[in-house]
Amino acid sequence: MKQSMMINGKEHEIDVDGDMPLLWFLRDRLEFTGTKFGCGSGLCGACTVHVNGQAVRSCVTSVSNLVDKEITTIEGLSEHGDHPLQKAWLNNNVPQCGYCQAGQIMNAASLLAVNASPSEDEIDTAMQGNICRCGTYQRIKKAIVEAADTLSKEV
C-alpha cells in the first residue's frame, strides 16, 4: 500500500527505504535543499524541520515514522518569506554563511508556537541544540525577541 506524508501542504509518496531519514528524502529524493546536513546525529540542529508543528531533527527521523504526518520545512514556513522570525532575521542581519539559519529559524518558530514571549533563559534552553559556527548567536537572540514582540502585538 502506498504511504505518504504532507510536506509544506502537499502530499508526497514515500517511495524510499523506510529507514531513510527525512533529511535525505527531502534533499536527495525531492530536492528540497533548504534543509541542511550538518552532523547526521541530531547534534547540531542544521536539519531542523517541523513535524505536526514541532521541531525535530530530520537527520535522525526515519520516513517510516512520518506516514500521514504534516512536515514543514524552511521553504514552507510562510508563503512569502514573511513569518515574523524571517522578518526579524532580515531586520537584524542575522546570517553570515547562513547554512545553519534554516534550522535556527525552524527551531525558533517551534519555540514561539508554544511560548509566545520566551525569557532569555528560555531562548537559550530552546536554541541550545542549534550550532552556528559563524557565531551569530547574539543576533539570533535579538531576532527571536523581536519576533516575539511582533507576534504579541498581532494577538
Binding site: V16, D17, M20, P21, L23, W24, R27, D28, R29, E31, F32, T33, G34, T35, K36, F37, G38, C39, G40, S41, L43, C44, A46, T73, I74, E75, L77, G81, Q86, W89, L90, N93, V94, P95, Q96, C97, G98, Y99, C100, Q101, A102, I105, I123, D124, T125, M127, Q128, G129, N130, I131, C132, R133, C134, G135, T136, Y137, Q138, R139, I140, K141
Partner: protein, 725 residues
C-alpha cells in the same frame, strides 16, 4: 608592454547577451594591484566584470570566494558606489574560477586589502564611460554631466538618461586613463551598514551552497579515509556494501601525494547520500597505518613543552639578551600551549564533479578555485584551464575549504564511474581526517629592571607548521614563520626568538587566524603576567611596552595598537573595575595580525571552575571601513570562535588517529554561552584591511587575563577546560 597597457587593451569588451540586451563588460585595471606589488605575474589579466543590460539591470561579479564573511556584498558595493549604480538594480554573482577575475584564493584576510582599490576603479571607469556616452548623445561635454543612482544627468537642462539606455553607447566609449575616484564624503554604500545581498534567500532556504548542487543523473558518494596520515589500504571486502540496494560502485582512492590531494580512502557510490553513508559502514577495511601510527597528542604536547623549555634553534636576535638577563631585577618565565583544532564549518566538505572524456566540470564550496584547477589538472593530466570550476557559496570554511582534497576525491570517483558525482563527507570524516590548526607550545622568559621596564625577552615556539604540507621533511617552524614573534609591536631591546623541534604527524592547515591564535595568546597573556609581577596595571604596562618600541618602521602600527587598547579600556568597565562584584574581572588584549588591529576587553564572572563571559568590548582599526555591519558581524563571530578554542575545543590523537568524531565530543560554543558583544570601529582614512581573522587572536589572552583578575587563577593552556575524550 606594461601591465597597464595590457589591461587597457583588454579593458573593454562588448557582447550581445542571449536576452537581447547589451552588455558592457568592464575589465579591471591591473595597475592598482601591480603598483602594490601584490600581483606578481605581469601577464595576468585582471578583470572584474560589470554587466549592464539595456534595461538597466546590473550584474556585478564577485571574484573572491564567499563563505559567510560578506565579501560578495562588500566588494560589489564598492563597485556600485563608484559607478553611481542603484544597489536595488544590482545583482551579485559569484564568479567562476578564472584568472581574469584576479587572485581568487580567499584567505589571509586579504580580499578587501587587495581588491578594494581595483574594484573602486572598475566602478569609476564604468561611470566615466556612461557619462561619456550621455555627453555624446546630448552633444555636450562630459564635464557638463554627472551620474546619480543609475542615471546620467545633464547639468544644463536637467535631462536624464538611464544606465540601461546608455549601455550600448558606453560600451564603445574610450576607456579613461585614470578614472577619478569619489571622495569619502560622497560615498553612498562604502562605510555604511549595507545588508548582505543574499539574506532574503537565506531566510527562505533558497540560498544554495556547494552541498546543494543538483545536476541531472547525479550519483551520490560517501567516503571513509585512512585514519592515519601516510597510511594505505591493506585489504578490503566490498561484498556487503555492494549488496545494498541502491549501491552501484565502490571506488578505492589512493593517497595522492601532493598538497591538497586526497589522504587516501574508499568511497561508495549510490543513488542517494544516505545509502552511500550506510554502505561505507559495511565496508570491511584493513589499513596499513604507516609511520604516524603512534601519534599521541598528549605525549606530543609534553615533548613540545620540553623542546621550548631548553635552548632551541635560533630564529632571530636583537641586542644582547644574556646581558639583559644577568642585570635583571625581576625574571619571569611561563609556558603556554594549545591543541589541534578542527575548522568544523557547518557545511561539511562537499562538491560535485563530472569528469568526461573532453571536459571536467566542478561545483564546489571552495576558497580557492585555482587550486582545484591545479590539483585536478595534475591528477587528470589536463591543463588547469580545462577544469571548469563553479564556485559555490560555502557554508562556513574558516580555512578548511582552501584545501581541495574532497574535490579531488569526487574527481577520482567520477573518472572511475563515468557519472557526475556528489561527494559529501560525513561530519565524522571531517573531524577525523581534516587539516588541523597546529598543536603548539611557547616558552617566554623576560627580564625587567627596577622600574618594571622589560629589558629582555626570550621567546621559544614549537609547533608543526603549515610548511610541512609542502615539505614534509621540515622538523621545525622556519625563522620566517616566527616572523610575527620577531616583529611583534612590543618594544624590546634585547630579544631572541628560537624555534623548537616539531615534526608533523598529521596534516596542518590554515585555521581562521592561524598562528596569531597562539602568538597572540602568549604575548598578551605574558604581558599581563609581567604587569602583575611589576605591580602595575596591565593597561599602563602594555602602553609602556609599546612606547618602548623605537623602531621607526613600526611607529605608525605601534601608535594605532596603543590607541586602540586605550580606547577599548575606556569603552569597557576597565577603569571602574575596582567596583566590580567579587568574582568578576576584566582582561585586556590587543593584537595586530593580517594588517588589522583588534583590541578586546573581556568581562567575566568566575565561580570555582565555572567561567561565564559577560561582556566583550571589541575595538577594531582596519583602516577605512567598507561595511560597518559586516565588520561588526566578523567580530561577533571571532569572539564565538575565540571562545570555543579558548575554553573547550581540541582535537586529540591517539594511536595515530583522531579520537573526536562529532559535536558531542568537539564542543563548539552554543547560544547559552553568548556574551554581550559590543564592537567599536575606529574612524580611519588608512587603506582598508581585512577582518576575517584578526578578531580571533585577542580573545583568548583577554579571557585569561580576565579570569586571573577575577580569581587569581592563571590559564596558560588552550583550551582552558578541555573535554575528556
Amino acid at each position: 608592454m606594461s601591465i597597464s597597457t595590457l589591461s587597457r587593451r583588454n579593458f573593454l569588451k562588448t557582447a550581445g547577451v542571449a536576452t537581447g540586451g547589451l552588455v558592457l563588460s568592464v575589465a579591471l585595471p591591473g595597475n592598482a594591484l601591480a603598483e602594490k606589488g601584490i600581483m606578481k605575474d605581469a601577464n595576468a589579466t585582471l578583470n572584474a566584470f560589470i554587466h549592464l543590460s539595456d534595461n538597466g539591470d546590473t550584474t556585478i561579479y564577485c571574484g573572491r570566494c564567499e563563505m559567510g564573511q560578506g565579501i560578495s556584498t562588500a566588494l560589489p558595493s564598492a563597485v556600485a558606489d563608484e559607478m553611481e549604480a542603484d544597489w536595488q538594480r544590482v545583482s551579485v554573482k559569484q564568479a567562476d574560477g578564472d584568472e581574469k577575475f584576479g587572485p581568487q584564493a580567499t584567505g589571509g584576510s586579504a580580499s578587501i586589502r587587495v581588491m578594494f582599490q581595483p574594484m573602486r576603479e572598475a566602478g569609476a571607469t564604468a561611470k566615466a564611460m556612461l557619462i561619456a556616452a550621455a555627453a555624446k548623445v546630448w552633444k555636450t561635454s562630459p564635464d557638463n554631466c554627472f551620474a546619480e543612482k543609475h542615471f546620467v544627468i545633464n547639468k544644463t537642462n536637467q535631462q536624464k538618461l538611464g544606465y540601461g539606455e546608455l549601455a550600448s553607447i558606453a560600451a564603445n566609449m574610450p576607456v579613461p586613463e585614470k578614472p577619478i575616484l569619489k571622495k569619502k564624503k560622497d560615498f553612498n554604500y562604502i562605510g555604511t551598514d549595507l545588508p548582505r545581498h543574499d539574506q532574503g534567500e537565506v531566510i527562505v532556504g533558497q540560498r544554495t551552497y556547494g552541498v546543494d548542487t543538483k545536476i541531472p543523473d547525479l550519483k551520490y558518494a560517501a567516503i571513509v579515509h585512512c585514519p592515519v596520515l601516510g597510511g594505505s589500504l591493506k585489504s578490503i571486502d566490498k561484498a556487503d556494501a555492494l549488496k545494498m540496494k541502491g549501491v552501484s560502485d565502490v571506488v578505492v582512492i589512493p593517497r595522492f601525494d601532493i598538497p591538497f590531494g586526497s589522504i587516501g580512502g574508499v568511497a561508495v557510490v549510490a543513488d542517494n547520500s544516505w545509502t552511500a553513508q550506510q554502505a561505507v559502514k559495511k565496508l570491511n577495511i584493513e589499513w596499513n597505518l604507516g609511520d604516524n601510527a603512534s601519534y599521541d597528542t598528549k605525549a606530543y604536547k609534553k615533548q613540545l613543552v620540553a623542546n621550548v623549555e631548553k635552548p632551541a634553534t635560533l630564529a632571530a636576535e636583537r641586542g644582547n639578551i644574556d646581558t639583559a638577563f644577568s642585570n635583571a631585577k625581576h625574571k619571569v618565565s611561563a609556558t603556554y600551549t594549545g591543541g589541534h583544532l578542527s575548522h568544523a564549518p557547518m557545511e561539511p566538505n562537499a562538491s560535485v564533479v563530472w569528469v568526461q572524456k573532453d571536459s571536467c566540470e566542478v561545483w564546489a564550496s571552495t576558497q580557492s578555485p585555482a587550486d582545484i584547477q591545479k590539483v585536478l589538472g595534475q591528477y587528470l593530466k589536463r591543463e588547469p584551464k580545462d577544469i571548469v570550476v563553479h564556485v559555490a557559496m560555502a557554508g562556513g570554511a574558516f580555512g578548511r575549504k582552501f584545501k581541495c582534497d574532497y574535490v579531488h576525491e569526487a574527481a577520482v570517483i567520477s573518472q572511475e564511474t563515468g557519472a557526475p558525482i556528489q561527494l559529501i563527507w560525513s561530519r565524522e570524516e571531517d573531524m577525523r581526517t581534516g587539516y588541523y590548526h597546529s598543536i603548539n607550545a611557547q616558552h617566554i622568559e623576560a627580564s625587567m629592571d627596577e622600574n618594571g621596564k622589560v629589558t629582555g625577552w626570550l621567546h621559544r615556539a614549537a609547533f608543526p607548521s603549515i610548511g610541512t604540507l609542502f615539505n614534509p621533511s621540515l622538523v621545525r617552524a622556519s625563522a620566517q614563520t616566527l616572523g610575527d614573534v620577531t616583529d611583534h609591536l612590543f618594544g624590546i631591546e634585547n630579544f631572541r626568538a628560537e624555534s623548537g623541534d616539531a615534526k608533523a604527524h598529521t596534516r596542518i592547515g590554515w585555521y581562521r587566524a592561524v598562528y596569531a591564535i597562539f602568538y597572540g595568546f602568549a604575548f598578551s597573556t605574558f604581558a599581563d603576567e609581567l604587569a602583575h609581577k611589576a605591580k602595575q596595571d596591565s593597561l599602563t604596562f602594555v602602553t609602556q611596552l609599546f612606547d618602548n618600541n623605537k623602531n621607526k618602521d613600526q611607529q605608525e602600527q605601534v601608535q594605532r595598537a596603543k590607541k586602540l587598547l586605550t580606547s577599548v579600556a575606556k569603552k569597557s568597565a576597565w577603569h571602574e573595575r575596582s567596583k566590580l562584584p567579587k568574582g568578576q574581572g576584566i582582561g585586556l588584549a590587543v593584537h595586530y595580525s593580517f594588517k588589522s588591529f583588534v583590541a578586546m576587553a573581556v568581562h567575566v564572572e568566575v565561580n570555582g571552575d565555572d567561567i561565564k563571559v559577560l561582556n566583550v568590548d571589541c575595538a577594531i582599526d582596519c583602516g577605512q571601513i567598507l561595511n560597518t555591519d559586516g565588520a561588526t558581524a566578523q567580530m561577533e563571530g571571532a569572539v564565538v570562535m575565540g571562545m570555543s578554542l579558548a575554553l573547550s575545543t581540541e582535537i586529540t590523537f591517539r594511536e595515530g588517529a583522531v579520537v573526536n568524531s562529532n559535536f558531542h565530543n568537539y564542543p563548539v560554543m552554543r547560544i547559552s554561552d553568548m556574551p554581550n558583544v559590543r564592537v567599536h570601529i575606529a574612524d580611519s582614512d588608512e587603506s582598508p584591511t581585512g577582518l576575517g581573522e584578526p578578531g580571533v587572536a585577542p580573545f583568548a589572552p583577554a579571557l585569561s587575563n580576565a579570569v586571573f583578575a577575577a580569581s587569581g587563577k592563571r590559564y596558560r593552556d588552550l583550551p582552558f577546560k578541555p573535554m575528556p575524550v
